[in-house]
Amino acid sequence: MSERPVAGDKGFEPRIVAFFCNWCTYTAADLAGTARMAYAPNVRIIRLMCSGRLDPQFVLAAFRHGADGVLIGGCHPGDCHYQEGNYKALRRYLLLKRLLREMGIEEERLRLVWISASEGDRVQKVANEFTETIRRLGPLRLAPRPGMIRLPAAAQPEPQPAAREGVLP
């Protein structure tokens, strides 16, 4: 893994991956930007269409590749753009927390939040709070895995289905 970018000499800077749903939380993060609400730069946002798309493996992959904390953001209960994806996310989240505990990863390193499109201030608050939580917990130390492959074979592009037209790479 490459060197960690550290601004100045501030000691441990948590790395946080955030999976935000397109309709509520990602939009709220856009709003936080429009309103210039500064927050901890540690949070790196990955857009999903819905929190229901969150495969638990994404969280595990994030931890495996060096995340110290993972944030999941969805619409408030009842507000899901796809009716109930956020409930599915909630179920997976609760199970995932148990799994993390068994793996020796502190539960607090994973957090699920409901943030609506108008709650830019909440993105700021959650990002800062979560960064502080992780800072307190310190770096996640997983046992190193020898021979870890950066681009796993399974992740290679599928052969293009013939039905779809387009330019092949």
């Binding site: 993060a29 990955i46 495969d55 995340a67 753009h81 499109a117 779809r164």
Partner: protein, 667 residues
């Protein structure tokens, strides 16, 4: 293993473009550094920066590079994809490349605008660019789905905004369903006597439009009706509308009103909703003489037949057309439309929430909307401004910003109160000759002819006292205050506390979202802003669109607005709806889920998860099948599939894993 080792034949050719966005990005992020960094990433053939990537020269830069460097992947680091993803995809398409070989990096909203330290901002931008470069390698060429659009439009809300939008569309030859909750269309505007700043009569400009709606062959008008369910998506919404029973057959009633005269109640004795309880009506009634449609209705809450089951039913006898039907049931209508315009309006602030202003305690404290009815020629007093005890007020105080610009309630300015207060001040003075005092924080009169109207009121001798009123009280100190309401206020121009005794207090209540705005928002799958008004897609560039394609906003449901602005916005919403349905089809984002048949084990996990019933089970092949036309691309099934057979275009596992690794480490 390095990525290029997997592609012995050279692999993809990626172009990375970093936007300055003027100083918006470049003021915080060291763009040059990000570009230099991008050049070191695998498969990146060219990396450039530009002041405004979204501009024509910026797009041309991409198009040229695609042709010249044979780029087959493009990453643009700029603003939010919600703003310009479409722009850059189009640029790719124009250069002959599949538009989905593109990934956008949000380094403005998510980096430069929210990060204080330039160093940290630059590092974060680099990480996000690295992630996008890794992700785009795994992009596939996709085709947008084309779906035909229904050419009918639903307009929800029959106030001036809904009326104007419906008429615009109907005149353009489109069929419009106009659904209004109240028994008549007209909304708040129908309650006004005059409109600012021209003082033209509200009824004279509104009622012709109302009757046009009723008569228009292209408009289906459903009043006393509510939308109860919305399904589908842009171009193809299925909507269910509940038509509440009026106990009068709309098609038969001609509005002769003989039934009202015949009612067993000889006098009108129930508070009349349209006049805010200042007047009375009978159980069988018409809200106001110009109500549209001109059809009576029976209120079962007050009708003695509904309450006791005993009544001579004189109304029924009086109706020559046999239009009265005590057994009428609610009806559910189902319609299919291509676009929806929401024009559900506002409600006024509940003045009881500010007890120190005495509304509900002192009978001579009125809300502005009540005074609109009092000054209205067809109102309960025939346009005479009389207090509840019949006196004509000699001194009147108008308190501005009631519920607006107040941290306890609403921080926003309601935009219309200064102007309607001026209008009411003028009308009250004209009708009664009273001394009128306006208590204001700031006078806000931007608009064509508005400042001039303010000036005119100053000339007319209306008093203006600058200060937020502390309280309205009946606590008299001096004899001339006895029996009056005293307005206590700090006059901030004089620098002293003043006590102004008046006979009548008018509270200029602010505008708030409808009480059920949140339920409506959920039903139509759109968002609300912090104050609870419907949220537009972009405050400047998409002011009548929502985040849900095909649903548009008009009028005060989107935020406080006066009549000219509501009408302008209604026209805009109608134009957007027209543009959508006249095209005849929509192109949907190709982010649907699909099944890799060879991998599907037939476990059926995905089937129950789909909220749209888009997944079925093929019993013969023992695999799940996704109907792409029904799939909306949430990806819930994809996340749940235990064998990795369910996948999602544009959000493939491989793409997301690359993004995760990318944000965590520079390759």
């Amino acid at each position: 293993m390095r990525a290029h080792e997997i592609y012995p034949n050279g692999g993809p050719r990626i172009g990375v473009y970093v936007c300055h966005c003027g100083f918006n990005i470049a003021g915080k992020v060291n763009v040059r550094e990000v570009v230099e960094f991008a050049k070191t990433l695998p498969f990146v053939v060219v990396a450039r920066e530009y002041k405004f990537m979204c501009s024509d020269p910026g797009q041309e830069m991409i198009r040229e590079d695609v042709r010249e460097h044979r780029l087959d992947r493009v990453v643009v680091a700029a603003c939010s994809p919600s703003l310009h993803e479409a722009t850059f995809r189009r640029a790719l398409e124009q250069a002959g490349q599949n538009p989905f070989f593109f990934q956008m990096v949000n380094i403005r909203e998510h980096v430069s605008w929210v990060t204080e330290d330039p160093r940290e901002a630059t590092e974060k931008a680099k990480a996000l660019v690295a992630a996008a470069v890794r992700r785009v390698i795994f992009h596939e060429p996709l085709q947008r789905r084309r779906v035909p659009v229904k050419d009918r439009v639903l307009v929800v809300g029959g106030g001036i905004a809904g009326i104007h939008a419906a008429l615009t569309l109907a005149d353009a030859g489109k069929h419009v369903y106009l659904v209004e909750r109240e028994p008549t269309i007209g909304g708040h505007m129908a309650m006004f006597d005059k409109t600012f700043p021209t003082l033209d009569c509200a009824a004279c400009i509104l009622t012709p439009k109302m009757s046009q709606v009723a008569a228009h062959p292209n408009i289906t008008l459903w009043t006393y009706s509510e939308v109860i369910q919305v399904e589908g998506f842009v171009g193809n919404f299925r909507v269910r509308v509940r038509r509440k029973p009026r106990y009068v057959i709309e098609e038969l009633c001609v509005g002769c009103l003989q039934c009202i005269d015949a009612c067993v109640y000889k006098d009108a004795r129930f508070p009349d909703e349209f006049n805010l309880g200042l007047g009375k009506r009978k159980p069988i009634y018409i809200p106001f003489p110009q109500a549209t449609p001109r059809v009576v209705l029976i209120d079962p809450e007050t009708c003695i037949w509904f309450k006791t089951g005993k009544c001579k039913q004189t109304c029924l006898e009086a109706c020559e057309r046999a239009a009265i039907d005590f057994k009428q049931q609610e009806r559910i209508e189902e319609i299919e439309v291509g676009a929806i315009i929401l024009a559900t309006g506002f409600k006024t602030f509940d003045a009881r929430r500010i007890p120190e202003y005495g509304y509900g305690k002192y009978p001579n404290v009125y809300t502005a909307l009540e005074v609109e009815r009092l000054v209205n020629a067809s109102g309960p007093t025939g346009g005479e401004v009389r207090l509840r005890d019949g006196r004509i007020p000699k001194r009147v105080g108008i308190i501005h910003c009631v519920g607006s610009r107040d941290e306890r309630f609403n921080r926003y300015c309601s935009r219309v109160c200064c102007m309607y207060s001026l209008k009411l001040a003028h009308l009250i003075k004209e009708r009664t000759g009273a001394e009128v005092y306006n208590f204001y924080i700031d006078m806000r009169t931007p608009g064509k002819g508005y400042e001039e109207f303010y000036d005119r009121l100053l000339q007319e001798g209306v008093h203006f006292i600058r200060g937020r009123v502390a309280e309205v009280t009946d606590w008299a100190i001096t004899p001339d205050e006895e029996g009056k309401l005293i307005i206590r206020v700090e006059d901030t121009l004089v620098g002293a506390v003043r006590r102004i005794p008046v006979d009548m207090v008018v509270l200029a209540v602010g505008l708030e979202p409808q009480p059920d705005a949140d339920e409506v928002r959920r039903m139509f799958n759109i968002s609300c802003s912090k104050e609870g008004f419907f949220l537009e897609r972009h405050p400047k560039l998409a002011p009548v669109s929502t985040f849900t394609d095909g649903i548009f906003l008009a009028g005060a449901c989107q935020g406080p607005k006066d009549i000219p602005d509501s009408v302008a916005q209604a026209g805009a919403a109608a134009a957007e709806a027209l543009a959508l349905i006249d095209k005849g089809f929509v192109e949907l984002e190709p982010n649907t889920a699909y099944i890799v048949e060879a991998l599907c084990s037939g476990c059926k996990t995905c089937i129950g998860l789909c909220p749209y019933n888009a997944i079925s089970f093929d019993e013969a092949r023992m695999i799940a099948v996704i109907n792409e036309a029904l799939c909306k691309g949430c990806g819930t099934c994809v996340a749940a599939c235990p064998s990795g057979a369910a996948r999602q275009h544009l959000f493939e596992d491989a793409q997301i894993f690359q993004e995760i690794e990318g944000v965590l480490a520079y390759v």
